[in-house]
Symmetry: C2
Subunit: 667 residues, 2 copies
């Protein structure tokens, strides 16, 4: 049961659809108080047995206890343990243990969640402003609560099926020839591939909706050339619009007043990749419609997918920041002999980016009211992606378009997916990827994944292989890496057989993964679940943070430690272990409920098939266009009769939950 | 068998003692070649079964394969996975698998070790200069190779027994009253404590060998007051000597020419905590003797232990760096609109510290020759600690003095211990601590430990408890935290019972830990070993990175994940699991060789007793002064007769391996 509690005069975030009448009685699941400065705080005692799920894109565990988080969409690529904020804000928690209920703290402003950090037995929620809505959701299980949240926030965005193909990205493939080399690198080595990403350098001077004529001549025919190889190009779109006289988007936005402003009414400016930019006011429906319509030029060139980036929004510098820094540096006494002064110097010169002060100087036009950005900061990326998604409804009414975003808020899950931003080539980030996936699913972000191999720092062959072996099971399976790092394509580490085997297995699994994904989308369910969601009475299962249920048939236990021959695994029920190698079953074993050590080499992928469930496998192909689901190989726990309901559609038309899209596979 | 290979004209590092004749035949265990620039490189093919042990203080695993490391002593507190350098350089590797041999690359200059990073099957050693010595050590086992290394580099420094007591530190306890509050906090809560650390703020203006009269009045009597409570004070000594007219150390060093110089002969200056400092030229024996003699003033005040810090040496800024930055900033065009310029600005202003360029501008006096610091960089901290240690031989000929250092090189293990530097309050840093301990032991650093609870960022109660539960088994057991972080003393998180239980257990174990430590010191052995060192034919044991053998009787399997009820553990042989709680046996279980899941609450400490071995426990006390070893409680695998040889001495006189120091405990 969902209850809505309204505090103050909140700005509608757009997260919740439909009308829910506010409760008139007092909030009873949480204790409410005001701190010394009059700010609302909400408190809850936690029982030792309570697990706190949620927060979507956030650092640390599936169980969020023991840390303090701040919902404040942040462009910060160093996802170390102590971080409080990542790119998205997903203010949804489930308390599961002695009690069982959910909380959705609905506000575009920042919120702090002290989940047993100050005091292990206490949850304290501190919104940064007193205007907000809290939804409490009582349910019979965490999954039931997730479904209820989805009911009020709307069903998840549905990606085209080709977006389940393997995708290769890098900041940047600078020219069409660079992209051709990537396509050839994959095709030549028989490693399947469905898409190559265009990072910021495909643009002319980093101007949104332009393509460099010099580096990508005859873009439309290039798109088509790649498409003929079964490869889609996926260009990036950044939030900031370059300030440049004569640049149509800039000129139009300025003329129509569609950019965010300063308090004095002038357009707010911040330096991003193109230099100084204005930020479209995505919170204004008219500006949204205008910006969304601009995707047309790329759709017309044959583009079928996009990634929206830098939309926290990320700012490298502002006029205000620069002039403060210049003033400071001008008067800096370089003859001084105080280390603290030099720390301050480096802090000032290095602290020009993403200043809270600058965010607070941005103003939006919300229904004619000028609203300070701080109040709606976490909604910006959401509404950029909404702009694109709403435009696609018109520009591509019959065909799905791939769209995912870096910054997000609950509600955006209706409009697009997310990737988990600029991670690092760290083994611990495989684990972070594992832990984040179910949390994202809880918040409605079903089409999601991490930068496989790690974005920043250098990847090694073994890291990439182990990460891919998990990425096989995430809807977005994309290898992405940063400028200046070691080449990270699957053919960049010598012998490609292991890579071919892993990615071919992905393609053999796509019909199953897509089926499970679509069922989760269509039934407001989760595709990727923590063990505790299904085995809630099993304490070992509840505490397992590094194994996941992928759809109804399988459990995975990815290996995320370097030089490990395998890993420990806990089976909450009897399962069949299948070890895949070269995309085929290499060996298989019935394992009983309990603890096991799982051996798997770098070129092997372990999958656990659940009792009574079927895993269908299909022919390996080079791209999703070639998928053929006519002759499934059916893997099962044992030979007892069982069946699997496969959802299938053409993968590109707008999806509908039609009976003819289901096919029963049985043994 | 040790073989010495000399290349070029190496500078004696002081790591190896005694004369070893160089081999005339060619290096055969490694392939030797020169790169395009004429630099020597040494290559080795690695077999799939090979584990590469070693490198002492370094990031990542016990098995160093799959990463690239650079020996270049670095003041960098963010020990994330991709880092190549930490504070110490310990150029010792053991290849163990198909082959079994050790390598000690003896040079004070930087060396890169590509251990299966570029190519998983290849080790490439790239010294930065062609003047070096390589020792190859063939042996029958990794432990045998470790012992052979110790034979040529000398026996390890021996700490006083009180340094096995629990120690509390913080940057900083600013006043004597702050220290009194810490002492009272422990004593009042019956949490044992042996030492409180004085970080930089005890000094007058950060001047070495001064004590602030204002904040620590009547220091000698304060030392004695604390000593009466069973608590030693351990002051920090930094490498840099403040440039201040009238400051005796500065004036003397200047007059005697004992500071490092620039190429032009002027004294090199760098800003550190006191502002501009000169660096004593610790590579000059006379300067070493002079600086070492200065510890007397603190010894005379009753001080019995020191930590040498900032001796990479850390530099916040130099005159040269500042003037370059000032020049750059002066001409910086703040009206520019190029993000790369602003990245450069922030890099310049934020990159004043620890510049390689500045290191290359330092010159040492080595036997009358002016030698560029780059050639001996990794020897600086070593020789600072050598200065102290050699002085203590004279100033305290009969009593051991506690001394440990941040920066180090192999050879320094004869003169002092090390702590592992400025880590973070990260769960992953418990694991890093676990993995680093055996590697440090391999290189001779037996008195060692990490900042428990983490130095930087904020600690939580559960993190501190889990970390302490491992720290119980490391010789240095010190809680240390940084300025600006959450209070981290054991009484800072409310209920202190769990802390009291853990630290009391430490004291019950000290006689055993000290005995095992002393045996390792006296017999050139390791106190803390990876499982693979004892169970070399057991592939599971060889691949286990998170369990350790502590002395001859026990194995530990620390819990290092938040919200975990326990962890998986692999037993390479039958063992008895003891769960300690409140410093007593809470429960006990015989476990068979193989895989188990170990449950342990935050206030519990699991210990595995090996078959045929005894673990003696003694009475819990409040400080090591009160230790009483007369009535051991003897824990064993089962009731079959077995014995333990306890090494005991007065813990403070210079140690000797005398028969009367051994006592057999039997059941």
């Amino acid at each position: 049961m969902v209850k809505k509690y309204v505090f103050g005069d909140p700005i509608d975030t757009g997260a919740v659809i439909g009308d829910i009448s506010p409760c008139t009685e007092e909030l009873c699941l949480l204790t409410q108080e005001k701190d010394e400065e009059g700010r609302l705080r909400f408190l809850l005692s936690l029982d030792d047995s309570d697990i706190v799920y949620g927060l979507g894109e956030a650092p640390r565990g599936i169980n969020k206890r023991g840390h303090i988080y701040e919902s404040f969409n942040s462009d910060d690529p160093y996802h170390t343990e102590e971080k409080r904020s990542l790119y998205g804000s997903h203010n949804f928690l489930i308390i599961s243990g002695k009690s069982c209920f959910g909380l959705f703290v609905d506000t575009g402003a920042s919120v702090t969640f002290d989940i047993g950090y100050t005091d292990y037995d206490r949850l304290v929620i501190c919104p940064s402003e007193n205007d907000l809505v809290i939804y409490t959701i009582e349910g019979e299980s965490p999954l039931d609560i997730v479904k209820q949240l989805r009911k009020i926030t709307g069903s998840s965005y549905i990606a085209p099926r080709w977006a389940f193909g393997f995708q290769q990205s890098r900041w940047s493939y600078f020219t069409a020839d660079d992209v051709r080399r990537v396509a050839e690198g994959y095709r030549k080595n028989d490693i399947p591939l469905d898409a190559v990403y265009l990072d910021i350098d495909y643009m002319e001077g980093y101007k949104d909706f332009t393509v460099s004529e010099e580096r990508f001549p005859e873009f439309k025919s290039f798109v088509s050339e790649m498409r003929d190889m079964g490869i889609r190009l996926v260009p990036i779109i950044d939030a900031g619009v370059k300030i440049e006289d004569g640049y149509d988007i800039y000129e139009e936005g300025k003329e129509k007043g569609f950019f965010c402003r300063r308090k004095d009414g002038s357009f707010f400016a911040a330096g991003v990749w193109p230099g100084r930019t204005h930020f479209p006011d995505f919170l204004d429906p008219e500006a949204r419609e205008w910006f969304g319509s601009k995707y047309k030029v790329l759709l017309d060139a044959g583009i079928e997918g996009f990634w929206n980036d830098m939309n926290e929004p990320a700012m490298f510098y502002t006029d205000e920041g620069i002039s403060e820094a210049a003033e400071y540096l001008k008067s800096f006494d370089f003859s001084c002999n105080d280390p603290n002064k030099f720390f301050e110097l480096s802090g000032t010169a290095g602290g020009l980016n993403n200043r809270r002060k600058d965010y607070a100087a941005i103003y939006h036009n919300i229904k004619g009211r000028s609203v300070c950005h701080s109040r709606v900061h976490n909604l910006y990326g959401f509404n950029m992606t909404r702009a694109a998604s709403e435009a696609f409804e018109k520009l591509s009414p019959d065909r799905r378009v791939l769209i995912f975003s870096r910054s997000s808020y609950i509600g955006m899950h209706r409009f697009g997916g997310i990737w988990t931003g600029d991670n690092q080539s760290w083994w611990s980030h495989i684990l972070l990827n594992i832990k984040m996936m179910p949390s994202l699913n809880m918040c409605g972000f079903l089409y999601s994944g991490a930068d496989i191999g790690g974005f920043g720092t250098n990847c090694t062959r073994d890291l990439l292989l182990r990460w891919l072996a998990f990425g096989i099971f995430t809807p977005l399976m994309r290898d992405h890496s940063a400028f200046g790092t070691r080449a990270q394509e699957c053919y960049s580490f010598g012998d490609t057989a292991a890579f071919k085997g892993l990615i071919s297995l992905r393609y053999r699994l796509i019909p199953y993964l897509y089926s499970e994904y679509m069922k989760a989308c269509l039934h407001d369910d989760m595709m990727i679940k923590p063990l505790g969601f299904e085995f809630s009475d099993d304490e070992m299962a509840r505490r397992t943070e590094d194994q996941l249920l992928i759809g109804e048939s399988i459990m995975v236990a990815p290996i995320y430690e370097q030089n490990a021959a395998g890993r420990y695994v806990y089976l909450p029920e009897d399962m069949r272990l299948i070890i895949f190698k070269n995309a085929s079953v290499e060996r298989s074993e019935l394992l009983s409920k309990g603890i096991h050590y799982l051996h798997a080499a770098l070129d092997e992928v372990p999958v656990f098939i659940r009792k009574g469930k079927l895993l269908p496998l299909f022919r390996a192909v080079q791209c999703t266009d070639e998928l053929d689901t006519s002759e499934p190989e059916l893997l099962s726990y044992n030979s007892e009769p069982c069946s699997y309901l496969l959802y299938e559609d053409d993968g590109i038309s707008k999806a509908a939950d039609l009976p003819e899209n289901y096919r029963t596979l049985s043994i």
